[in-house]
């Protein structure tokens, strides 16, 4: 699997490259700027671009714009955005109308190597990886007549994992339950929230997020 990394801190960029190299990925491009990343995304056949949201020259939104551009021009390339802060508004901007092949994680998650590698694989495979902080912020949001109150604690846990982009198998592993049990919980949640059940795992991420956001 071929990766490109865009991160202006050399220390961090090389650390991530080493980590992913050790995990069996082929890091084909290490870039210090968004411009360089866009150039290499066009010429190197990459599967995933890992992008720091703050990149030179202004350190404002260059990274985000590069990520959105890659998503628009190379729909088959996964994009994983890393940031020192995660924002609900940015997650929505990044997902816009599809959660396929997109990730948005706090930079801290890098050091949780197994989880991070799993997230990269998921994004490469067209899945999604949303930071738990985003999901917990949305879940904690105060609502009038909160429909989430109808969920059991177990369903709540499943919903949270589902919203971060975990697959059914991932949820089963995390909660140490069977795949069948997960499927039961998922359909119960969709029923209680009044959401139409959708086939793909990344499409249900978007559905859940839109629901939580409104």
């Amino acid at each position: 699997m071929r990766l490109a990394i865009a991160e202006d801190s050399v220390l961090l960029r090389e650390g991530v490259a080493r980590l992913l190299g050790d995990a069996g990925f082929d890091v084909v491009a290490q870039c210090g700027t968004a411009e360089e990343l866009l150039l290499k995304a066009n010429s190197y056949e990459i599967d995933v671009a890992i992008v720091d949201i703050r990149l030179p020259p202004t350190h404002n939104d260059e990274g985000l714009r590069a990520a959105l551009e890659i998503r628009a021009n190379h729909p088959d390339v996964g994009v994983l955005v890393l940031s020192q802060y995660v924002e609900v508004g940015l997650a929505m901007k990044l997902l816009a109308d599809s959660a396929e092949g997109v990730g948005y994680l706090l930079k801290d998650r890098i050091s949780d190597v197994e989880q991070f590698v799993a997230a990269v694989r998921r994004v490469a495979a067209g899945g999604s990886a949303l930071d738990p902080i985003i999901v917990s912020t949305l879940l904690a949001r105060r609502r009038d007549d909160d429909p989430l109150a109808a969920l059991t604690p177990r369903e709540h846990d499943v919903l949270e994992l589902m919203a971060t982009g975990s697959s059914n198998q991932g949820i089963a592993d995390a909660l140490v339950i069977t795949l069948r049990a997960v499927e039961k919980y998922v359909s119960s949640i969709f029923g209680k929230l009044g959401l139409p059940s959708t086939g793909s795992e990344s499409r249900r991420v978007l559905a859940v997020l839109m629901f939580l956001r409104s």
Partner: protein
């Protein structure tokens, strides 16, 4: 109190008034010329009705010379006076053709039609004696060419009989044709002149004084009569002699109308009396301009006040004003008090010809203008204060932004890298569970530090606002709010960063207050652009009656909002919820 005229307001250079002896000599010469023409007519062997002819001629010569001298004396910077004097004497020169001796008679014949060209010139050169438009210059140039050049050709062809010393051949038929061309050309030029007068009057820009309007009408009538006379000559109409007399009569009236206009400039000062009464009522500074505009009959009038402290001109609100450039068609009259500038009247150029009126109005308005000046100065100082407050806030914000960036690029990045290093180290220490546990503990400490640092950094400066705009940033605020929030953002694209940051803080602080004090069950946050303002409104359904403790946070917000030229208002009736509204100009 004195109204001083900047040199450029009256054209290039201010001419000095002619010495009195010069004027008297001119007047004497005019009278002598008139006497000579009478004598020439009476002694002539080829003039019918010599008395009437001489009277008609002097009806023009004398008034033009005398009125011209008065004009020159009263308005030394205008060339109109000297031009009038010239017209008078040229008229006299044409009377030399009455002489019996061939030499003066030839000279007189050469000048026969020159007065026509001079009158066209004179009428088009009102009021300052200059031909300002290109068409006017063309008409006048062509007039001289036809009146002098074609006359010369005619004389070469033998017109005027034996007294014409210039006659080279005797070709009366050819001379007739040249004469017809000459007269029709002059008629056409006179008619074009009427058109130019009409166009100029439309473009004048302010209503003409009645006497001036009378004068321009008399010029136009003069041109009509000149055209009629030329055509009557060309087509040899039997009424020629009658038309000639009427024409002379009409042209002679113009200087009288001119003198009335000159007198009226003094009468116009009676408008100043009205101004005095209006000023007695102590009008607010804003109404002063209107009163002055009425007194000067110039709706385009604007006032500029001198701010010595800032060394610049300003309007009533203290905003900088540039005095018009010399060639801009606007004129400036400076008003000084005790040797210092007070104000400047920026007015229509034509007012320069009513110097007495300007002086009188300036003198009357002196004190009121000083009041206006103080008003403008106060406003300018306030504006400066506001500017320095906003600069202080801006500088503070820049500094916070720099700190946040240092934190992000420094400590935060290093801690993430350190945590990653520890994790890689941990993987290699497969055999030592104690060491692994220690490293894991350390990583958790780092994670906590990162979380705290993130909170600190966000408190220093909301980087998400700078990076991604207000709409994105408030989404998290709404999601984290202590009560359900309905968020409406009706703003497209990005706004200036300082506005977005201020709006962010207003929303952040207001939502925090709702959590701490309001006992509310829900709130709304509306962000919209209304008439060039960014309007942010946070409304809750809590208990209202915000106390002074809440006020300190709000005070800081109000400072920030006011520093950007906006205002922050809070309605918090007891039991009626709290509404915080910030309005900030977007430009």
């Amino acid at each position: 109190m004195a109204a001083s005229v900047p040199p450029w307001s009256a054209g290039p250079g201010v001419a000095r008034a002619p010495e009195l002896p010069v004027l008297w000599a001119g007047a004497l010469a005019g009278c002598a010329a008139a006497a000579v023409s009478v004598q020439l007519a009476l002694a002539s062997d080829h003039v019918a009705e010599p008395g009437l002819q001489a009277a008609l001629l002097d009806w023009i010569t004398l008034p033009y010379v005398l009125a011209g001298l008065v004009a020159w004396w009263r308005r030394p910077d205008s060339r109109f006076g000297p031009l009038m004097v010239t017209a008078g004497f040229v008229m006299f020169l044409s009377s030399l053709q009455w002489a019996n001796a061939p030499a003066p008679s030839t000279l007189g014949l050469a000048f026969d039609l020159l007065p026509v060209a001079v009158f066209v010139h004179l009428f088009l050169a009102f009021p300052d004696g200059r031909l300002t438009s290109r068409p006017a210059r063309v008409v006048v140039g062509a007039g001289y060419a036809a009146a002098v050049g074609l006359q010369f050709v005619k004389m070469l062809l033998g017109v005027g009989g034996p007294d014409n010393l210039l006659a080279a051949v005797a070709e009366p038929a050819a001379a007739d044709i040249v004469q017809d061309v000459q007269l029709i050309t002059l008629a056409a030029l006179a008619l074009t002149g009427i058109l130019l007068l009409a166009v100029r009057r439309r473009r004048f820009g302010r209503p003409l004084r009645r006497s001036i309007s009378l004068l321009v009408d008399s010029f136009a009538l003069g041109l009509v009569m000149i055209a009629a006379l030329m055509l009557a000559g060309a087509f040899e109409l039997p009424a020629f002699e009658t038309i000639r007399r009427v024409t002379f009569g009409v042209i002679g009236v113009a200087p009288v109308a001119f003198l009335i206009g000159l007198m009226d400039a003094r009468l116009a000062r009676s408008g100043v009396g009205v101004l005095f009464v209006e000023l007695q009522a102590d009008p607010p500074p804003g109404a002063l301009r209107d009163a002055l505009a009425r007194a000067l009959r110039d709706e385009s009038l604007t006032l500029a006040y001198w701010l010595p402290e800032f060394e610049r001109w300003a309007d009533l609100d203290g905003r900088p004003v540039e005095l018009p450039a010399p060639d801009s068609g606007r004129a400036t009259t400076l008003i000084d008090l005790n040797g210092a500038h007070v104000a400047a009247l920026l007015h229509h150029r034509s007012l320069d010809d009513e110097r007495e009126l300007l002086d009188a109005v300036s003198a009357a308005a002196g004190m009121a203008l000083e009041n206006g000046r103080l008003h403008a100065e106060l406003k300018a100082r306030l504006e400066e204060l506001r500017g320095s407050r906003s600069r202080v806030i801006e500088a503070g914000q820049k500094e916070r932004q720099r700190l946040e960036r240092n934190l992000h690029d420094g400590a935060q990045q290093r801690l993430v890298a350190l945590s990653l290093d520890l994790r890689l180290l941990e993987a290699r220490l497969s055999g030592d569970p104690d060491a692994r546990a220690g490293l894991d503990q350390a990583r958790q400490e780092i994670a906590l530090s990162l979380e705290e640092l993130r909170a600190v950094a966000r408190g220093i400066h909301p980087a998400v606002v700078t990076g991604h705009g207000l709409a994105v940033a408030v989404e998290s605020l709404a999601a984290r709010a202590p009560v359900p929030v309905r968020l409406t953002v009706a703003v497209d694209g990005r706004l200036p960063e300082r506005l977005e940051v201020a709006a962010y803080y207003v929303i952040c602080e207001s939502l925090a207050n709702i959590g701490k004090h309001a006992h509310a069950t829900s709130a709304t946050v509306d962000i919209a652009r209304k008439k060039g303002d960014l309007v942010v409104e946070i409304v809750d359904d809590g208990i209202g009656g915000a106390d002074s403790e809440r006020g300190t946070g709000l005070r800081g917000l109000a400072d920030r909002v006011e520093g950007l030229g906006g205002r922050l208002r809070v309605w918090t009736p007891r039991g009626g919820g709290t509404r915080v509204r910030a309005e900030m100009p977007c430009d």
